[in-house]
């Protein structure tokens, strides 16, 4: 017989790493995000304009990377509720570059409804971090997927 403990996912601990997720956004991905968010900024689709603006290629939207960070958290803890989120674009991210989205549990607190987990997050491109963030999750069972 399999007990619940045998199959249960591990509890959350400070220092636990979120599974890394790979992203390589192409021109279509950038277009679809701009279309979905009503963002007509040229640097996300007009290569000539991006070059003239000092970029080496069209630029991956900062908000798209923020969504990657949220996706990384909620894939790791699908039953959790996101209660706070901060992000900062720290370097330009370019189309067709490979990115790794990851995170690490920074804090775990008791909460009347479960536990509160603070996760430090980042999108890492070929030349280093492009977006960093921090999310707070409320987890009623304190376990991850």
């Amino acid at each position: 017989m399999t007990t619940h403990e045998d199959t249960a996912a591990p509890r959350v601990e400070v220092g636990a790493e979120l599974p890394a997720r790979s992203k390589t956004p192409d021109e279509v991905a950038l277009f679809l995000f701009s279309a979905a968010t009503g963002n007509p900024h040229r640097i996300h689709y007009d290569r000539d304009y991006a070059h003239a603006d000092g970029h080496r290629d069209v630029v991956v939207q900062g908000s798209l990377q923020a969504n990657w960070l949220i996706e990384a958290m909620l894939s790791w803890a699908p039953d959790a509720t996101l209660t706070a989120f901060t992000f900062r674009n720290v370097a330009t991210a370019y189309v067709n570059d490979p990115f790794v989205v990851g995170g690490r549990v920074a804090e775990v607190h008791e909460h009347p409804d479960g536990i509160e987990v603070v996760v430090d997050l980042q999108v890492e491109g070929p030349d280093g971090a492009t977006t960093v963030g921090r999310g707070t999750l409320l987890m009623t069972d304190g376990r991850v997927a």
């Binding site: 007509p40 007009d46 969504n67 992000f87």
Partner: protein, 154 residues
């Protein structure tokens, strides 16, 4: 040097408040947003079982359609931006406090306030950090989400 960027005209913007109207949140919005972030749209069966609304979709709901004739050379709508330096800006930091998950049918309305303009000397240039705080409320007037945006102006 940094104070030169912050004119009296710009300082007069501090405390300014703006309405941020939002479109009602529909399943079609969620489907478009999922595709926009590289996820498959929900099947009819999945949608029936419950729709988890992506938190960042509020940015889409609060972005009103703009007459293309009014877009700037960058392709963006003219920003309500304090008159600082050359009129250029870049995103700094976005901070969200999510009081509850968004739900289909939510009709949000936002109120945005320019809380501060702070001159700073960066490594390469003088700049001003603007901080806008927007409270999004639902139809019951309960605060659902608070967004703080810091933008770098130069």
């Amino acid at each position: 040097m940094t104070d030169d960027l912050l004119s009296d005209e710009a300082r007069a913007w501090i405390g300014m408040e703006l309405d941020v109207p939002c479109a009602p949140l529909t399943l079609a919005d969620v489907q478009r947003f999922r595709v926009g972030v590289g996820q498959a749209p929900l099947s009819a069966e999945e949608a029936e079982q419950g729709v988890v609304v992506p938190p960042m979709i509020y940015q889409t709901l609060s972005r009103q359609p703009v007459d293309p004739a009014g877009l700037t050379r960058d392709g963006v709508p003219p920003d309500r931006r304090p008159p600082v330096g050359e009129g250029r800006g870049m995103n700094g930091e976005v901070e969200l406090e999510l009081r509850r998950p968004l739900r289909l049918g939510d009709q949000l309305h936002g109120r945005r306030r320019l809380v501060s303009l702070e001159p700073k000397q960066g490594r390469r240039r003088a700049m001003v950090v603007s901080t806008w705080v927007t409270e999004f409320r639902d139809a019951d007037d309960d605060v659902v989400l608070v967004e703080t945006v810091r933008q770098i102006l130069f």
